[in-house]
């Protein structure tokens, strides 16, 4: 068991920020908008969380993280939804912008070397009883409390998406905006709100990195997680529960190194680092053909 536990804990640890980001992106993509700027929302959230947590409150830190992610995604929405600029290019630019702005501000405020300032971090809170379940107990229930938020958020998003008329409308826009608009659904407003929600959760993902894991900010610390989250959305087949499961699978692939180390198997560590991406590509190829992508994802049909 001592072999499995570091592996499982590593899995959940890697999966937590990815699940936040992928959950938000799932909502955005179900409305037909693919936000490649998610990477930007995560780094903005990391920086915003770092600044806000400096006040001394970790929860204020997460609020700051979420708002920073929302702000950068509002800019994305302005271009991608309001003026219907190309979503992919807008998202790429937004990521670049957020990476640049956070690095610039960080160097301006904390000096170009960026003295490794530490901020209050969110410690582990063990859930009584549950955390003593054998094998998975500690991995799932001895986590920073923000992770428990996710346990509530995933089913809540599912419920909203499949059990409210607003969620129904959102999904209709992603599939067939003409039919949705014909039914009286304000498509652009829904898309905007979905993107803002995705940005907020992307920001929280960044906050998790800073406040619950690293304890400090580093330039570019999002390290591609936004793009990985987008792949996770695909692997999760655009479903909130699917996204959570796919994030765990990705986390497990990343944590394989712990298992291999424990087994005493030697492989170059870069192979472990690359493995999740390779598995993602294989996964994408594997689910192709039965893809559940929203039919209108990434484009926009002008009205008559």
């Amino acid at each position: 068991m001592s072999m499995l536990e570091p592996f499982l804990e590593g899995t959940v640890r890697t999966a937590t920020p990815l699940a936040f980001a992928a959950l938000g992106e799932t909502v955005a993509e179900r409305s037909g908008v693919i936000n490649i700027g998610l990477e930007g929302a995560i780094i903005a959230g990391a920086f915003g969380g770092f600044m806000a947590a400096g006040t001394g409150s970790v929860w204020l830190g997460f609020l700051g993280a979420g708002l920073a992610g929302t702000a950068i995604s509002a800019l994305f929405g302005l271009f991608a939804i309001r003026i219907r600029a190309d979503q992919i290019i807008t998202g790429t630019a937004i990521s670049l912008l957020a990476l640049g702005i956070t690095a610039t501000l960080y160097r301006q405020i904390y000096g170009s070397e960026g003295a490794a300032l530490s901020i209050p971090t969110m410690g582990v809170t063990e859930v009584p009883v549950l955390s003593s379940i054998p094998i998975v107990g500690r991995a799932l229930f001895a986590q920073p409390p923000v992770a428990y938020l996710l346990y509530a958020l995933v089913p809540a998003v599912w419920w909203w998406m499949y059990r409210t008329n607003a969620g129904l409308g959102l999904r209709a826009i992603g599939e067939d905006p003409r039919a949705a608009i014909a039914a009286g659904i304000p498509a652009a407003r829904f898309q905007y709100l979905a993107v803002l929600f995705g940005g907020f959760l992307g920001g929280i993902a960044g906050g998790v990195l800073v406040i619950a894991q690293a304890g400090s900010f580093a330039e570019g610390m999002s390290a591609g997680r936004g793009f990985i989250a987008i792949a996770i959305v695909v692997l999760g087949r655009w479903h909130p529960l699917g996204a959570a499961v796919a994030a765990l699978v990705f986390g497990a692939a990343s944590a394989l190194q712990y298992l291999f180390q424990a087994m005493g198997w030697a492989l170059p560590y870069q192979a472990f680092l690359a493995l999740p991406y390779v598995l993602t590509l294989l996964g994408l190829a594997g689910i192709a053909g039965r893809s559940a992508a929203p039919a209108n994802l990434g484009r926009w049909q002008d009205q008559h």
């Binding site: 059990r163 008329n165 607003a166 129904l168 209709a172 599939e175 039919a179 014909a182 039914a183």
Partner: protein
Amino acid sequence: MSEVALDLRGISKRFGSVDALDDVSFSARRGSIHALLGENGAGKTTLMRIAFGMLQRDSGSIAVNGIAMDPRSPADAIAAGVGMVHQQFSLVPQMTVAENVALGGRGRFRPDIVARRIADVGRRTGLTIDPLRRVMDLGSAERQKLEIIRILAHDADILILDEPTAVLTSQDTSELFTQLRAFAAGGGCIVLITHKLHDALAHADEVTVLRRGRHVLNAVMSDVDRNSLTSAMLGSAPPVTSRTPGATPIRREVVATFNGATSGKHDQEPFSFELLAGEVLGVAALDSGAATVLRMLAQRIRPAAGSISVPSHIGFVPENRADEALVPTFSLTENFALKAAGSRKGVVDWPAMRAGATSVIQDFDVIAAGADVPASSLSGGNQQRFVLGRELHDDPPLLVLENPTQGLDVNAAASVHARVRDAAARGTAIVFYSSDLDELVEISDRVMVISSSGAKFSPPERESIGRLLLEAGA
């Protein structure tokens, strides 16, 4: 039972330079099925889209259940109790029946409650459907039914149906009308947009006939018969400009043979025909069946079975100019170069392309400020003449045309016809698909009517083509 449910007065609408509707009035009563009859392009759908708030009128007034209103969007019309089933379904195929019915609502989405509402509609009208099925798994009759159920579930009392029988079998059609009759008997009002005389005669209580955007007849069904409606729809017979057979010397050589080719998807029974040099073969069909045949002839779709022998050089004018024939942002020279772009090698001789485009502009009277302007700067008629000119530029032995005069005004259409006849006179075999019977009568040497049971041939006479189409629809 004489209360007016939907009342339109003096409606006019222009699209660009075309008068789609000119001072049209229409009124339908509660408790009745009212047929809005006319040929394709007569303005029926436009008129009802205005009533439904999808299009805005240029002038005229609208009243629903006696209250004047100004529907700016379908939501306005729905709120007033008007529902419309469009020719193209407005359902989200990836979603379930219940989800489609609930679409546009507020608050919680309770599949069980929606299912109960669907069941309620079923009790009132006899229209039933499984709420858990996905729309993409439904056949067209069931989709049609779902469209109606959805509208009734939103408590509409005026139901507009745009060519509802176009996609239905005769059994489904009679079932549909039984249900519509029940709805009308309960005090509802049904507007039935159709170009099928039979539907109007068999099922409607009253009829309004439109012809070329004008209102020509309004009557109770008992006061009219087949002959009076036909003449109202068609007007006085158009002046005979058609060619007497043999006026053009048809060279009797076979240019192309179509040998039972099918694409393997929703095909009709296989059939065969030959195309002769210099002939104009008109093609009529009720549904999209003709498109596959034409595109196989034009070598854009490879047949899955059967065979086609065609010359290496084929002109092809696809139905959708802006989407399939031209790249709107490309200059006319570039659009000229598109022809045969797939097989061209090496360097493009741009001066030759410009010269080609220029000669098309001159020879086909295309009004354009030169060969370097983008195609999007041309009017529809000029775009179509340019496409036709491009496809005829190298005198292909075979020319395939899909609805080439759609959306053109009378003069532009006449000039397209003249060009087609010229090409035929020079020996080009022409396949001319049109959804307008008059046009087929005018341009064709013979007409092929395609239906699910295969193809039948007719001389270019209205009566005989119409009969074949009616048989095909039955």
